[in-house]
């Protein structure tokens, strides 16, 4: 720890609310407490071992802003993008790895990011890669249905928490068309109302009926899909390899 560590006899785990701001608030608190955190976790993942205590972090926009702008200055925008992506991963050690990566960055500046031999730097960059790869793939394989009233609906269950990323992608792409993306695994809805994007809990949400002509477009697409494979070139193994099942289990069109 660059700031000198308080030596006392218990491990302190920082518990935050799961938001990016909350996470940065936790980092702020840890730095302020001059303490190497024994863990930074969300409440549902808290496991107290013997001799450990925990502290609930109050999410504060101001604290989060201070940490992140300092980090941005030290590490640069690209590194912060990587940190954000890694934060969205489903890996249990993500917060600790990011925390240590940032601390290293405060010491070394931009040079920290190229230290791939450091376990934390390597982990953050691998997690970020996984998240962005999953996002790319998902964005291709997701399918919307048009609902009564004209809004669109799409369900998916990604491994990582990529809802904010795909929400942004489709909002910029679909412009005047409102939509809802439903992360069924996490019980979250990404909503775009043609002006704003927000993420809300899916509790009690019942998707509206599909519009009347939805079936006919689904059929047309299926027809197109079945038509274009060239029999002489068929290669089911290659197809499987390119399209792992988890990406399209929600959609009707492309099961091999």
């Amino acid at each position: 720890m660059p700031y000198g560590t308080v030596l006392d006899d218990f491990d302190l785990i920082y518990v935050y609310d799961g938001s990016y701001q909350g996470f940065f608030s936790a980092i702020f608190d840890a730095v302020y407490d001059r303490r190497e955190p024994a863990g930074i976790v969300t409440g549902d993942r808290l496991q107290l071992s013997l001799g450990a205590r925990y502290k609930e972090v109050a999410t504060s926009a101001e604290k989060a802003r201070r940490v992140s702008s300092a980090a941005r200055q030290k590490l640069g925008g690209e590194a912060m993008r990587r940190v954000y992506l890694a934060f969205l991963s489903s890996d249990d050690g993500r917060e600790t790895a990011i925390y240590r990566y940032l601390m290293l960055g405060f010491r070394l500046g931009r040079a920290a990011s190229s230290r791939l031999t450091d376990a934390d730097v390597f982990r953050v960059s691998t997690l970020a890669q996984n998240v962005s790869r999953e996002t790319d793939k998902m964005q291709g394989f997701m399918r919307f249905s048009v609902m009564e009233g004209g809004a669109q609906y799409c369900r998916f269950s990604p491994k990582n928490n990529i809802l904010p990323l795909v929400l942004g992608h489709f909002a910029s792409r679909l412009g005047p068309i409102p939509f809802v993306i439903h992360d069924t695994g996490r019980g979250l809805l990404g909503v775009y109302d043609t002006h704003d994007k927000y993420i809300v809990s899916a509790e009690g949400f019942i998707p509206p009926e599909k519009s009347a002509d939805e079936k006919s477009f689904e059929r047309a697409w299926k027809l197109f899909y079945d038509t274009i494979g060239i029999a002489e070139r068929k290669n089911p193994r290659l197809m499987k390899q390119l399209m792992p099942a988890r990406y399209f289990r929600h959609y009707w069109d492309i099961a091999p």
């Binding site: 790319d136 792409r173 412009g175 038509t227 070139r233 290669n235 290659l238 197809m239 399209m243």
Partner: protein, 437 residues
């Protein structure tokens, strides 16, 4: 006939045409408009033959006044025919796009009445998409050879990519199998598109808001295996096309027997391995500084089935090897099997600070399996007993199973496997190299 039925017929006819990736333009969504493009392209599904489906690829019509022997749409062929209306096509496409079924449109067409009439229909469909639905995503359109320059210009202002298919690798094949076409008819619009692109580029420098003209460039396609043209003729032609017309891509499409002309092969399997080798050779031309006449010659005019063209070249130029990793010029590193564009760059950067050893090369993503025969580190081979010997190296390289994609298991994504590195330009991050949809 309903739209779905038309779609079935017109996708069926379009599918043999291999060209196209959804890439090359990078444009974010626009307020009020629908659609964006991403430079890496985006696969939305993979068809049963493993090609990626990111574009709605259809013909506007499969009626055609011509009778090109290798083409399913040829006048004399007895097939189901159909034709879209411009608005019908635009609506269908927008419905697919908003559901995220596809990333863009790839529109081609048979020739109805005459080339101009056909181009006008395409133009109308594109105009509806761009001006009425404000569709801002990717459109690739085929220029119909023989249409007037004004119409081609107008089309170019609406499309991201245009292509004119060269179809057959030589004039004599063209004369035999596509009597209504000639090299000249094909190259005239190519030249025009090239000039349009250059002109716009200059205008954009002057006026920031000059409309863009075919921003993703133009490409073309050749059918491989329908005619006796050699690999050498093919890659020499590609080289000339890249140079003369500034093409972004030449696509090679293994001939699937759909014709019955006596000059065409019958009952053959599509030559997928050959198609694959041509893509590899094409890569060498574009990114590795090779010339066509270094890879092949009149006498030796066929790409080796057992070795990829880079290994094949190296094995036949053993006098240039081994190269010393710590001192060899970049150009030579690039020509060494097992070293791709990225690893060559990494080597050049890394050796500035420290002398490199074999252990380091793996981290720089050098494929030692292939490179060992051609490199030294600090003056030593990895295996000190190794002696340069053509037959030995040829045998070892050919023996490793990954070198035999076509025989053991044909994979269409093996460009990286064979050249060890991703293609260097992110714009061309190719998701499916051969027969990209």
């Amino acid at each position: 006939m309903d739209t779905a039925e038309k779609l079935r017929i017109l996708a069926e006819s379009a599918k043999y045409d291999a060209a196209c990736t959804s890439s090359g333009s990078d444009r974010a969504g626009r307020p009020g408009g629908i659609g964006s493009t991403s430079p890496s392209g985006c696969c939305h599904a993979f068809s049963s033959d493993g090609r990626c489906i990111s574009l709605l690829k259809v013909l506007y019509t499969n009626y055609c006044v011509n009778d090109c022997k290798y083409c399913v749409c040829r006048r004399s062929n007895d097939i189901e025919r159909a034709s879209f209306e411009p608005r019908e096509l635009a609506d269908l496409f927008m419905n697919f796009y908003r559901r995220n079924y596809v990333e863009g449109l790839f529109l081609s067409s048979g020739i109805v009445k005459n080339p101009d009439y056909t181009t006008e229909r395409l133009l109308e469909a594109l105009t509806i998409l761009r001006k009425e639905y404000f569709f801002n995503g990717y459109i690739h359109v085929k220029a119909i050879p023989g249409s007037s320059p004004e119409l081609i210009s107008a089309l170019g202002l609406l499309a991201d990519r245009m292509s004119v298919n060269i179809e057959l690798p030589s004039e004599s094949s063209l004369r035999l199998l596509a009597p209504q076409k000639s090299r000249e008819k094909v190259t005239a619009p190519m030249g025009q598109i090239r000039d349009g692109i250059i002109k716009r580029k200059n205008e954009i420098k002057l006026f920031r808001h000059a409309p863009s003209f075919v921003p993703a460039g133009q490409s073309t396609q050749m059918i491989v295996g329908a005619t006796p043209d050699s690999d050498f003729q093919i890659i020499r032609l590609s080289e000339a096309l890249y140079k003369t017309y500034g093409l972004k891509r030449v696509f090679y499409s293994a001939y699937v027997p759909v014709g019955n002309h006596p000059a065409l092969p019958k009952d053959v399997k599509p030559p997928l391995l050959r198609e694959h080798r041509l893509y590899q050779a094409d890569w060498l031309l574009r990114f590795y500084g090779f010339r066509a006449d270094e890879l092949l010659s009149e006498e030796n005019s066929r790409l080796d089935p057992l070795l990829d063209p880079k290994c094949f070249w190296a094995v036949n130029h053993l006098e240039l090897f081994p190269v010393e990793i710590n001192t060899a010029p970049y150009e030579l590193l690039l020509r060494t099997p097992g070293i791709g564009v990225r690893s060559a760059k990494r080597i050049v950067a890394a050796r500035r600070s420290a002398s490199l050893r074999f252990e380091d090369l793996q981290k720089l993503r050098v494929q030692l399996k292939r490179a060992v025969y051609f490199i030294t580190c600090g003056g030593k081979y990895m295996y000190p007993a190794f002696k340069m010997n053509h037959d030995f190296i040829y045998g070892s390289l050919a023996g490793s199973s990954s070198m035999l994609p076509g025989i053991l298991e044909y994979r269409q994504l093996t460009m990286e496997d064979s050249f060890d590195s991703l293609p260097p330009s992110p714009e061309e991050k190719i998701k499916c190299l051969t027969g990209q949809f």
